[in-house]
Amino acid sequence: MAVLLLPVVKIGWDAATGGLGANPIEAVQNRLGFWTLVILALALVPTPAKDLLGVSWPQRLRRILGVTAFGYALAHFLFYVGVDKFFDWQTISRDLTRRPFLMVGFAALLCLVPLAVTSTDGWLLRLGYRRWKLLHRLVYVAAALAVVHFAWRVKADPTRPLLFAAVFALLLLARVPGWIRAARR
């Protein structure tokens, strides 16, 4: 699953070769945010892939995808704190209490924390599958908040956030047949 680290490698490569443009800090911040969303969406593919297409091998990737998405989200946040704002706590605390675009981003990150923590087999056993599954539906809340974060950040052109919104909506829709089947059982 080293593929999932390619975006980071690419950032490192571009940073070394001047490929990040005139404002590299902004570029890295945005790229980490973008890849968080992409990998989060990928983590939602395995289940409907099995339900609808009967393909079950992606199931094995679900955990690593989810945990990696959290890793990117955390990196995106830590980059904001440690590089973009350089530990300027006054500005950071004001940002996180006053600016809706950052508040929803932060809320999205907070939603992902319990999911990353309970991603282990031990936690799955401790919670029991039902409760674990219920908890992990939080991922949709996280995705929705993240899309809102993206949309509010954009100044004029909402195309890219709308695209992500559509992808997440489709992924949710793709689960409906599975739910119906489960309810019938």
């Binding site: 443009g21 005139a22 350089f86 004029a156």
Partner: protein
């Protein structure tokens, strides 16, 4: 009203050689004596995107008005642009604007003036002696640069059309041409891009009608062939690729103020005390620097322009 003092910091003007010298140095390293000899000649266009390129403009005098700060490199100034007519990504204008036809180009000046007329770009270029002015440039998005513009005070042009007593504002309109400006195909903003200044702001000696950059003609992505620069205001106030100026009595509706009235005001004055709803304006990132630096009221030009706003609520001046 603040009086203009031409000798203010003009005597400290950074000579053109300062930024040319770096290139000479690089060439010396690369190609030895031949390179050194060649660098004495004007650089041909496209010699390398790191170096200033394009037709050289005759610059009559130089004013350094950025507190002695080093200009942001040419490459950054010409590849990091907000010019939504060519796309919303900052790299889009440099990639997509190169084909913009800037000759012939006509500027219509009309409205509350005694001598409304259409002026060709060649005439504009000869209207007044060209000056290099090194100004700070602060974007509303909290990044900034230092830019050696070439141009002359907008007042030089406005005087020639003789505004009437009813001329209270000047409206600037960017070219509307979907074929050349692919960004105008989507209705993310109301086209054509429209900006405006109060007449006293427009007549202020700091307000520049810019036709060049780094001693060369303005590249398309920076608003060729002519744009307005008001260094104490956020960058969006400076309309690019202008085809029309209208002098009017009422405060005009301007593009960003229409699009998001809670985020962008008519004045657009740089004001560290008034935050954008989505970020603080107290600090800015100067391109090329790691740490954010404090944003100055009126972007450091308070001495020249604060008098324009005497009696106005400073909280409204954003």
């Amino acid at each position: 009203m603040a009086r203009w003092k031409p000798d203010l910091r003009g005597s400290e003007a950074t000579p053109e050689e300062t930024w040319l010298r770096r290139r000479d140095f690089l060439r010396l390293g690369a190609a030895g004596a031949i390179g050194a000899a060649a660098s004495a000649l004007p650089l041909p266009a496209g010699a390398g995107e790191d170096d200033p390129s394009g037709e050289v403009l005759p610059v009559a005098r130089k004013l350094e008005m950025a507190g002695g700060e080093k200009p942001t490199p040419w490459k950054s100034v010409t590849t990091y642009n907000n010019f939504y007519e060519f796309g919303t990504d900052k790299a889009d204008p440099a990639k997509r604007a190169s084909g913009l036809r800037v000759r012939p180009w006509t500027l219509a000046v009309e409205g509350e003036v005694k001598k409304a007329r259409a002026i060709g770009i060649e005439e504009i270029l000869k209207m007044a002696p060209l000056e290099e002015r090194i100004y700070r440039f602060r974007c509303v998005e909290a990044w900034s640069m230092v830019v050696p513009w070439v141009g002359f005070p907008l007042s030089e042009l406005l005087k020639r059309v003789e505004p009437t007593s009813r001329a209270k504002y000047v409206v600037f309109e960017t070219l509307l041409d979907k074929a050349q400006m692919p960004g105008q195909a989507s209705r993310i903003l109301e086209w054509p891009y429209t900006e405006g200044l109060r007449i006293d702001e427009a007549m202020n000696p700091l307000t520049l009608l810019a036709v060049g950059l780094y001693g060369r003609v303005l590249p398309p992505q920076n608003g060729a062939p002519l744009r307005v620069i008001t260094p104490w205001k956020y960058g969006f106030k400076g309309a690019k690729s202008i085809v029309r100026m209208r002098l009017v009595e009422e405060q005009p509706r301007t593009t960003w103020a229409l699009m998001a009235p809670t985020e962008y005001g008519f004045y657009g004055n740089v004001n560290p005390a008034v935050d954008h709803p989505r970020w603080s304006q107290a600090k800015e990132r100067r391109l090329g620097e790691f740490f954010r630096r404090d944003t100055l009221p009126f972007n450091g030009y308070a001495a020249e322009v604060a008098g324009l706003y005497a009696g106005l609520d400073p909280r409204k001046l954003y």
